[in-house]
């Protein structure tokens, strides 16, 4: 694998590279929830919308588990980031 590919940013919000993700999968942190906790991948403003598919694919590749058997991460509210001021006004 070329160094260049390892340096590809997978999670743009938290700036996590493909190389870092592969390194931690190989250490045994081979599911979305664990990788999230150890790398913060998918924890930024987009909440993993930009990177989770790539993450699932990498887990599948490196563990040999079929893609449809790799569990996605926990989905948490809010669906979209909301300004604190707007939340504080109760949406009024």
């Amino acid at each position: 694998m070329s160094d260049k590919q390892e340096q590809v940013i997978v999670c743009r919000c938290e700036e996590i590279t493909l190389g870092e993700i592969r390194e931690w999968i190989d250490r045994g942190y081979d599911n979305v929830n664990e990788l999230k906790r150890v790398l913060r991948v998918g924890m930024g403003p987009c909440q993993g919308r930009g990177c989770q598919d790539i993450l699932l694919r990498e887990i599948s590749r490196r563990t040999g588990k079929p893609l449809d058997q790799v569990e996605p991460g926990t989905v948490r509210p809010a669906v979209k980031p909301i300004k604190a001021g707007l939340l504080a006004s109760g949406g009024e």
């Binding site: 664990e34 906790r37 909440q47 948490r76 809010a78 909301i82 604190a84």
Partner: protein, 382 residues
Amino acid sequence: MEWKNKADVAIIGGGIVGTATAYYLAKLGVKNVVVVEKGTVCSGSTGRCGAGIRAQWGTEMNCRLGVAALDIFEQLDDELGLPTGLNQGGYLLVAYKENEFENLKKGMALQNSLGIKSKTVTLDEAREICPALAADDAVGFTYHARDGHADPFLTTFAYLEAAKRLGVTYHRHTECTGIKVADGKAYGITTDKGDIDADVVINCAGGYAQFIAKMAGVDIPNWGERHEIMITEPTEPGVCPPMLMSFSGNYYIQQRPHGSIICGMSPAGHPQDYENKTSWQFATEMSKVLVKLLPCTKGIRVVRQWSGLYDMTPDGSPIIGETDVKNFYHSTGYSGHGFMLGPIAGKILAQTLVGSKPDIDYSMLDYRRFARGELIMEPNIT
């Protein structure tokens, strides 16, 4: 990892308390330690917590544990060989009532007598510590510069990785289903993946500890209480350098080193649904508090909210030590402070188990205190 049917010590729970206890046991020479975790490492309360670390407590025992934990955290990156994300921006405690401020000062006198250098600060000084602060309605503040926060994920991973290097076995997705007891002695555990015979069994199951205790026929008065919390997108540093906390104001707010602001408050009532669910009411109420206290946050976006369990005891103090069932130990009941106390709790229990004198005499934290009516009421909790 390879399954072992026999261990010196079996630990139930892969949060901060379980992993730290495993690490210190291995460090003290206990060769064969197994940790079982029903989910993944720090998937329970540890990974859901507000990350604070403080020595500003209202009981002598918690002060001793808190400052000893700070001593550990301050050299933990070097000891474990991985970063823990320690950030000592202090805890700024905010009082809104005269009697509340009196209580904080009482706590401060106790802390000072134990070598903890907490102090009162004026509103102007509070604004130097936290420039964005709007707290004109506050009556007074106390501050301790060594307090702060660390990253619960990184700290727990660091303990686990260091423990594994010392030979500790770790099984995730492995649920404890029973404690093996004969003649009043524990001699192992059963799990959904198989049995493990062990000379010692330690209950580090956090909000679920009472269910684990029951498996050995031991009753502890703990309960898991759901608390909610939320986090913003990263913003410029310096918005909230200390942990801002108020017991009557019912909030704690801190800014992570990478810029996100984490904030939480205690729920109305004592929800014990064990569902880790979230509510829009919390996000609304919490945002009101956040924006009032730090007006510059009104344009910052909230990206995520979640919840986790406080493993509560009736007096808010932990339960550490052996039970009526011999060789079955508790390290639980941290009442929302397991992350900050976990490192010292792991160390002192490990010291006891290898026959050394623990750094802190914690015998008063025995769970039989509740039956005796000797509660250790901790006033400084939200």
